[in-house]
Every structure is written in C-alpha cells, then in structure tokens.
Amino acid sequence: MTGDGKLKEEISAYMDSDLVAEETDALVDSLRYELDARNDWFLYHLTGDAIRGQTTIDDGFSIRILAKLKDVEIDPLYDPLDNSTAGLDLF
C-alpha cells in the first residue's frame, strides 16, 4: 500500500475507533494540515451519513463554524446542559 493509501486506511480506522494512541498524533496532524486528508475525513463521514439517509448540511458548514469559533472562548464554568449557566446569546 502507498503512503497515501496507508494514511487513508488510518483515517478510516480512526473514525471507527480502531487506531492505537501512538498512531493518532501524526494522523490528526495530517488531518489538520493536508487538504487531501481533510477531504477524505469529510467524504468518509458523508458516505456513512448518506448510507444512513442523512445528507442535510452543506459542505461549507464546518468552515463557517470554524470561522465563528475564532470569536468564542472555552468557558470552564459554562455547562451547555445547565440552564443556570446558559444565557449568552452568540447570534
């Protein structure tokens, strides 16, 4: 199998919880920096969702979320399931 093929198979295995911890750092770096790897991550998930009949969100959705996340900070005191800590309207 080529290096590219090995990376693709690792992406598929990682999706399904079949990759050991030692292999994940390099894989996640590839998914962060390599467009082809990121496209495979996207396509393999789209494939699974389509098999289950779920194809509702468009392909730019995660990019728009990522753009919004730049203005959001992780709040250690905020629990999204606890109404008493909810309230900040981000939209």
Partner: protein, 198 residues
C-alpha cells in the same frame, strides 16, 4: 495496546486549545445533529442556524463534557436544548390571536415555519443519496456487508470479524476499501457542486 475513541481523543485535544480538533468533530457529527434538530424545526436555514448554535455552545462548554456519556449523546442533548430554545423564542413572536386560537384547540404552540428547501438543494441531496446507494449496490458482497454492518448496524470491528468469520485486519481493510469506492463515486458530484451550497 489500547485503541482510541476518536470523539474522546478530539475532545481532549479541543480542551487543550486545538480548535481544529473541534472542527473535525463538527465534520463528524454535523449531519447527525442537524437530523436531530430537523425533528423540531422545518426550515433548512433555521436548522443550520440552530445546529451552529448547538456546536458553539458545545465548544464553549467543552470542559463540562467529562466522558460520562458518549460525546454524540451529549451533543444530541445540546441540540435538543438549542431547538427548544429556538422554538420558545419563536413562540413569543406569535401574535396574540394565533395564541388564542391554539389555546382553544389545545394544540401545542409550535410555530408554523415555511419550508425553504430549494429545488436545487433537494436535487443535490437526492443525487448524493442516489450516488451512494448505487455505489453501495455495486460493491463486492464482502465489502458491502462490512460497510453496512459498520454504518447501519453500528457494530465494531471485532463484532464484524466474528460475523464475517475473518481477522479484524480484514474487516478494517474491507471497510476502508468500501469507503474509498463510494467516495470515488461521490468526488465528481461534489466537484460539480463545489460552487453551490448543499
């Protein structure tokens, strides 16, 4: 050696400040979450807005996720909360006469939202579904069985290996090959739709 749950791994990385790891979680769960929210809200634009809100709430409150439930279950509950919050806000916008008529019929005060699904968006969604379905049907039987047991039945590799009476490594390879073949069928369609939202 222990295998890694990708959700727990990506949550751990997000907690360490890696927002790209959260982006990978979004790609992984966006359609599931939108599907959950679409049970409560009809308009595609509003589904997307509420799905975005749910993901941002999840990101902001990621420290509250301690792995006591599956990440997808936690996200599911955040999505339902976001949908309920949206409907509550919409309800306050219903004119009084509509609220009164609803009270008379004892119907829940869920606003009627126009279905804004565009014909183009419907067509693209349909074509993606048809492409995947067609590619799935053309797969060799052992690949089709492996990917179906994984994606439809949610079995892990060990369970699939027992059912198919083969090594786990073979299951891993079959599922990967099935994904590659289906993805190859999808790629030209996605190129075609590149400049359009779907």
């Amino acid at each position: 050696m222990d295998v890694i749950d990708p959700d727990l791994d990506l949550v751990r990385r997000t907690k360490l400040g890696d927002c790209h790891a959260f982006d990978m979680l979004v790609v992984r769960h966006q359609r599931m979450l939108a599907h959950v929210i679409s049970r409560y809200i009809k308009s595609p634009q509003q589904i997307e807005d509420v799905t975005q809100e749910a993901f941002i709430n999840a990101y902001r409150g990621i420290m509250a996720f301690r792995g006591e439930s599956k990440f997808s279950s936690w996200l599911h509950r955040i999505g339902v909360n976001a949908a309920m919050g949206f409907l509550a806000t919409e309800r306050t916008r219903i004119p009084l006469y509509e609220a009164l008529s609803n009270t008379k019929t004892n119907e829940p005060l869920v606003p009627e939202v126009a279905d804004e699904e565009s014909p183009e968006r419907l067509l693209i969604t349909k074509q993606i579904g048809e492409t995947v379905s067609s590619a799935l049907k053309k797969l060799p039987g052992e690949l089709r069985a492996a990917i179906t047991l994984r994606e439809i039945d949610g079995l892990n590799y060990e369970e699939i290996a027992k059912i198919m009476d083969c090594p786990i490594g073979t299951v891993r390879s079959r599922i990967f090959r099935a994904r590659e073949i289906i993805s190859a069928a999808l790629r030209p369609k996605l190129e075609l739709f590149r400049d359009r939202r779907w």
